[in-house]
Amino acid sequence: MITLKKCLIANRGEIAVRIIRACHELDMIAVAVYSESDSNAKHVQLADEAYYIGAAPPHQSYLDSETLIRTATQAGCDCVHPGYGFLSENADFAQAVMDANLIWIGPSPDAIRAMGVKTEARALMQKAGVPVVSGFQSDNAVLDEFVTAAEHIGYPVMVKAAGGGGGKGIRVVYKPADLPEAIQGAQSEAQKAFNDSRIFLERYIEDGRHIEIQVVADTHGNTVHLFERECSTQRRHQKIIEESPSPLLTAQMRQTMGNAAIAAAQAVNYVNAGTVEFIATPEGEFFFLEMNTRLQVEHPVTEMVTGIDLVKLQFRVAAGESLSFSQDDLTQNGHAIECRIYAEDARNNFLPAIGTVQQFIVPQAPSIRVDSGIQASDMITIHYDPMIAKVIVHDANREAALQRMTRALAEIVILGTTTNIDFLQTILQNPVFVAGQVDTKFVDDNLQTLLPDVAQLPHAALIAAALAKMDGQTQAQVVSNSDHSNADIYSPWQRSDNFRVGE
């Protein structure tokens, strides 16, 4: 029996739903919070209790740490799970939760802070023997020193903000002439975004593969890794498809990277679940990028291949339990793939799409998992992340898993908004992806060939549209007729059951 009783979930959408389910399986009471536009959301419906916390814009609700902690205390919660995004990597929030005598389902504020300042994290990793890409950092260097350092590192170099992530302040520079402007631009962007203008230089690995290692550590000194996830299929640093195992890794590389990830976690006294991100070269070198001190969007991929429920494990670790397994007990079974479904219009520059989801039908079939925070009749609003669902499949090997994913995506029906499902389908069929050779630049470099052609309109689709329109018109007619009390009660159009047209 877990000692935790009642958890406030400081999040929304699919991850809130995921955490609520874990609470219920652990016999814990799940408390949801919601903004004005989420009052009828799936996570609110599934929770045992739900509290309104403010207006739809995140800084007035899901980012309002005071209201969240007050709500948790008043509801009698004993712990807070932050999910991902929002306040999940905010060390001050983690500290405030603990100061309110609540258990924080995550690592210590110190560990979050140590990994949050990128230059500090680099230095810590070097000390711990974790490979980092060659770079240059100095808090008071003048331009000339950066120029000399860049020559030494070799172009292309990346100019990055010391104070934060999220792609802000990052510039890739291919030739010395462009360096001064990139440094100034990055400094001013970093100042605005993080109130910290410090920047550093790093070698830019162009054809790199994004490979990350899931780690878990308990409060008794045990740290294990749960193998890798490859997330190289990205568009503008936004992950689209993730999988485990990585097609690139050999058993030897996997072991070396796993050990490096454990060393990285131990260097900051990490507790709970976290992810160490690496960039790997085609030659098999790999370097530390950053550590995400929280649950990841793509955690189900790891759950599928290891059979371990990471969210339940997070609660157990936070409750002080020891890991019930050792590194040697863990195996990576078969192959898992995740596709992220975004409400966005690939043909309109990937701009976010909104709308009311009128139909939401997902396949229920062996080894297909759909994590979503939406259901039919939900509005997709402008306020939140456009990721509306994740489809995760598992099978014996990569080829079979790809077939299963292709099938699953074809079966999903999301009507009423525009999604990236057809874009995902073209990536899954691309020979480079099928061969497992996608690097982090692949999608951006090949966008034109990856954008699906506008499908020819089959006559059957046009006929279905007309049938729906005819049906709607006739029903509207029936409604207006009944207003005049001369409704044709024998009309087939009044039957809401399986009535037939043209038979």
Binding site: P352, I382, A464
Partner: protein
């Protein structure tokens, strides 16, 4: 009865007629089909078209008729809606919201002169920022939104008159 939609920039039409034998006849261009269909729960049709079987899910909103068939979603825009939108966007000089969003910053006032490329206002949706810039030199003739407004796709935002 004739039904028309816009698809991929072209008008597509189908004629549906009830036959004496109870079947439907669908005519698309030179092609004729005999159709039987039964409605499925949630919206959609199990159709037999010239005896071939098709399962289609359907839904509609004010903008479009959506059809999901054989793993592909089709968005058929309503013709009457397109005409209405066409008028809205033809007002000369009006800049239109390319995506739905919230106005988070308005950087100009009516009457101010602007240069091509000047940022006029900033829209935000789903963590993305879109800057609306002046397409040419001119004067802000009409400012139709203010900070905090939520705008729909296609909504007129600001009008820039030519110098």
């Amino acid at each position: 009865m004739q039904y028309s939609y816009e698809y991929n920039g072209e008008t597509v039409s189908v004629k549906l007629e009830r036959q004496a034998d109870g079947q439907m006849k669908a005519t698309i261009g030179d092609s004729e089909y005999s159709v039987t269909a039964s409605q499925i729960a949630g919206g959609g049709w199990l159709m037999h078209i010239n005896s071939k079987r098709f399962l289609a899910h359907t839904a509609s909103d004010s903008e479009a008729q959506y059809v999901h068939l054989n793993g592909t979603q089709f968005k058929l825009e309503k013709v009457e809606n397109r005409r209405r939108r066409g008028k809205g966007s033809s007002r000369s000089g009006d800049l239109i919201a390319e995506m739905p969003g919230q106005v988070i910053d308005v950087r100009v006032k009516e009457g101010r002169s602007v240069q091509s490329g000047d940022v006029l206002l900033v829209l935000e949706a789903m963590k993305m920022e879109i800057r609306i810039s002046a397409p040419h030199d001119g004067t802000v003739a009409k400012l139709r939104v203010k900070t905090g407004d939520v705008v729909a796709r296609g909504q007129a935002l600001v009008k820039i008159s030519q110098m």
